[in-house]
């Protein structure tokens, strides 16, 4: 169990999609979501877990490969955790904290 989750064992996050990605998520940019503070194996929930969770629970669109490829975010999509490039925060391995902001932006659209 992650120490970062609330009493109910859930983590509340703000997730935002832009650059065309919002089209895959019901054409809505901002989403408030609540997800388990620990993953399938009981480990603290990470950014990788969030991406899987979004794909399975928030994304109604069937073309999952538009968002995820080889188990992580598709190349060409930038991820910011609390305004910083997720590479600075450990990328996939970043452990989720209550009220984190995740910003996904596609670089693939438009000129």
């Amino acid at each position: 169990m992650s120490t970062q989750s609330n009493e109910a064992g859930m983590v509340l996050l703000e997730v935002e999609f832009t650059g065309g990605l919002e089209l895959l998520f019901s054409n809505q940019r901002k989403h408030k979501i609540s997800l388990p503070g620990s993953d399938e194996k009981g480990q603290p929930a990470t950014a990788a877990f969030l991406v899987r969770y979004l794909c399975e629970n928030l994304m109604k669109d069937t073309r999952k490969e538009m968002f995820v490829m080889d188990g992580t975010v598709r190349p060409g999509i930038l991820v910011l955790i609390n305004d910083a490039d997720w590479e600075l925060e450990g990328g996939d391995l970043y452990e989720l904290k209550e009220n984190d902001n995740f910003f996904f932006i596609s670089t693939l659209h438009g000129g």
């Binding site: 089209l23 669109d61 073309r63 490969e65 190349p75 910083a84 438009g110 000129g111």
Partner: protein, 420 residues
């Protein structure tokens, strides 16, 4: 965990990792270094002269919006003395171009630049909506690309401007280098890597000040400067991100971020080894079907290098080619397959023919052309022949735009790297 500090100022939280060297930077250091590098590109290539009037090919998308913003900033900061004008093309695509043009109109106000819009409608008597209504979605990118090439030149000519800058970035250049290498198209390799392209078909110079800027950093710049840009893909180019060379470049970047610039540099080095005669051959038939990169960055088809659909366009182009042959005019058809000849059936024998060409003027429209009749006029002839029949049909435009967008997204598929 303490936040990572910026490697330059060492006081502010780092928000960006630069793909080319892994440098961790804060917002203001990043913005400043990004602008400085564009400035260095401009000065080391002597792209501009004081007092020059320059048209920015503006689509409302991220690249051209960042280009306009950076050029305005640098023009003021370094006293380039440029007269900057936004030049946009209205292809006539409801639900796509009319929306992105609104963005460009806002940009014109935000950057205090005049805006000139040239429409396919006024130039050719056809909007892309009407073209698609007539010929269907297959092959429409060919029409759009041919029309666009002329439209930017005509727009610039109308403004009496001799220099058009476009928002092509390092990812675009790397992608073009890859494609031309795979295709063995040396003339085009040389052209694609040069930052300035003057062509025999036009007295208007094109240049790419963002040529060394990573797409990732362009998006970061737009984001951190809070720039207003448009992100929807062209509704008639549903395969837009299918371009396999694009996927390849993005996968390379993931493994080793410096790869993009490495490919650009390698392309430049190889282009230098291309003998002049070969490059010159490529300079010949400039008005042949170019759905090419230099055209314009408008998102979608004819603009983003290689992001257009696979073999679909080849059909239309083969037809065009047939009509050319019928006229007894063998032209440089190696251009035809520029970004979509995976399925192209044109025999190699003809691909190798690169006759020297004289640029004349199209007898119909007066545009510079190696043929009596330019490509645009040839396409128009076909369209106009069938016009009366289609005008009584119900317009596609009456459909709800959002539903068309949705349908477009439904048909999108990405080719995984391993299948390429």
């Amino acid at each position: 965990m303490a936040p990572t500090l910026c490697e330059l100022c060492k006081t502010t939280r780092a928000l960006i990792v630069r793909p080319k060297n892994h440098q961790k930077l804060c917002k203001s250091c990043f913005i400043s270094i990004f602008e400085t590098e564009i400035h260095n590109t401009i000065t080391s290539n002597s792209l501009f002269f004081p007092g020059e009037r320059v048209a920015i090919g503006a689509s409302g998308g991220k690249d051209s919006t960042v280009l306009a913003s950076v050029l305005k900033t640098l023009n003021e900061r370094h006293h380039y003395g440029l007269n900057l004008i936004l030049l946009s093309i209205d292809e006539g695509i409801k639900g796509y171009r009319d929306d992105s043009l609104k963005t460009v109109k806002r940009n014109a106000k935000q950057y205090d630049m005049p805006l000139e819009i040239v429409g396919y409608d006024e130039l050719y008597g056809w909007t892309m909506d009407q073209v698609v209504e007539q010929i269907g979605k297959k092959g429409n990118c060919t029409y759009c690309g041919v029309f666009r090439r002329q439209a930017l030149d005509r727009g610039a000519a109308r403004l009496d401007i001799k220099h058009v800058v476009t928002g092509h970035n390092a990812d675009d250049t790397a992608e073009t280098v890859m494609m031309n290498l795979l295709r063995g198209d040396l003339p085009r390799l040389a052209r694609a890597t040069s930052i300035v392209t003057a062509s025999a078909a036009s007295d208007i110079k094109r240049s790419k000040p963002l040529k060394y800027a990573y797409e990732k950093e362009i998006v970061y710049y737009a984001l951190h400067k809070g720039l207003d840009y448009f992100t929807t893909e062209c509704i008639y180019s549903p395969e837009a991100f299918r371009g396999s060379a694009r996927t390849l470049i993005k996968n390379l970047e993931k493994v080793r971020p410096s790869a993009i610039l490495d490919v650009v540099k390698s392309g430049e080095d190889m282009a230098r080894l291309v003998p002049d005669e070969v490059s010159a051959a490529g300079q010949g038939g400039k008005d042949v079907l170019v759905v090419e990169g230099e055209a314009y960055r408008a998102g979608g088809c004819g603009s983003a290098n290689g992001r257009s659909s696979g073999g679909e366009m080849a059909d239309t182009e083969r037809q065009l080619l047939e009509s050319e042959k019928a006229q007894g005019n063998e032209t440089e058809i190696s251009h035809l397959g520029q970004k979509h000849d995976r399925n192209c059936k044109i025999p190699n024998r003809t691909l190798r023919k690169l006759p020297k060409q004289q640029m004349g003027k199209c007898v119909r429209c007066g545009y510079l052309s190696s043929q009596d009749i330019c490509k645009a006029c040839m396409l128009l002839e076909g369209l106009n022949k069938n016009r009366p029949k289609t005008q009584i049909q119900v317009s596609v435009d009456e459909e709800d735009n959002s539903s068309r967008l949705t349908r477009r997204m439904e048909s999108l598929k990405i080719i995984p790297a391993e299948q390429m």
